[in-house]
Symmetry: C2
Subunit: 197 residues, 2 copies
């Protein structure tokens, strides 16, 4: 089919973002040219600038949207005993991130390609997410359910561990996502438990 000329507002825009997401995740922001994005979208490079002021904004908006989507998920953070709050967090984190490997990959790998202002904004959002887990841990410590000496460290350790699932998990592999969640929950549950050594 010949490439057509004309108006495609409302379809090209999302396609630009989807394509940029895919290519940035695959080859990295610095290695992807606007021409390559345009080629995959099916327009010429110049046309991209109807949808983004520049390449940096494209990256930043992908990362910001990912983080705000993440923060907008309803998780009933403060409901029920801390142990149940933590279990919900673990399950949610693994499943949500496993569902969006490209967004997660970019959010981790492309931080250094953000301008300082954009970097600061993304970091603020990331910290908000971490604070939710930290708050759960602190409630559990207060309630005497958790044996956690330093909630901030444990927060970062748990998030690193859970997000690591994305580096190896593949749908249809040896383990189902349910099994993965169960295994990680087992580790987290024990790691934060009050020590009975």
């Amino acid at each position: 089919m010949a490439r057509t000329t004309g108006s495609h507002a409302g379809i090209t825009g999302p396609k630009v973002r989807q394509t940029a997401l895919k290519l940035f995740a695959q080859d990295g922001y610095a290695a992807v040219s606007m021409r390559r994005i345009a080629g995959q979208v099916g327009v010429q490079a110049g046309a991209l600038y109807n949808y983004t002021p520049d390449k940096q904004s494209l990256l930043f908006e992908l990362m910001r949207d990912h983080m705000t989507d993440l923060l907008d998920q309803p998780v009933e953070d403060g409901d029920g005993p801390p142990l149940e709050q933590l279990e919900r967090f673990v399950s949610f984190h693994i499943r949500y991130h496993a569902d969006r490997p490209d967004e997660v990959f970019i959010a981790y790998m492309e931080l250094r390609n953000l301008t300082p202002e954009n970097f600061a904004e993304i970091e603020k959002l990331r910290r908000q997410y971490e604070d939710r887990l930290e708050a759960i841990l602190r409630r559990g410590v207060e309630a005497g359910d958790f044996g956690v000496a330093d909630p901030k460290i444990v927060t970062l350790a748990i998030i690193a561990m859970l997000t690591g699932v994305n580096t190896w998990f593949r749908e249809g592999g040896r383990l189902s996502l349910d099994e993965v969640v169960a295994q990680y929950w087992d580790m987290v549950r024990k790691a934060v438990a009050a020590d009975r050594r």
Copy 2:
């Protein structure tokens, strides 16, 4: 001091690798030009090719040297009870990686910028390292010391957690490295413990 011309074998070579390491870690392989490396080294771009056949080899050799150095460390893997083997592994991993943040960062972030052949070689080395931890876990399960359902998963989870230290730890911060090691060891020890729920 004016820039001199002449022979500097034995000094320029290491300087090229050090500079490439620094810049790749800072801005990413794709974003760093040979001209920029040359500028920091204090030579012209063409001179770099006396020390590397191309940019790709520069990246690959940095990553390969990092992995073989890691594997060459003496760790007395199989000595003593599994719990002590695991404690040594945790302490070693955190300290070794905290000492080499640039190498570690590159080893994680630049995998996709390796040619397929080079990627395969680095992955082989990485797997060798993972296998050491997995072997410790299996010995502990056999001995009845550990409650680990799936040693492979737990291996990946522990390594992700430990390596995550590098994303936030800074010398001179709130916690000393000794304190960090103690905190992470506490989590790992409990996470792999036989369950007494």
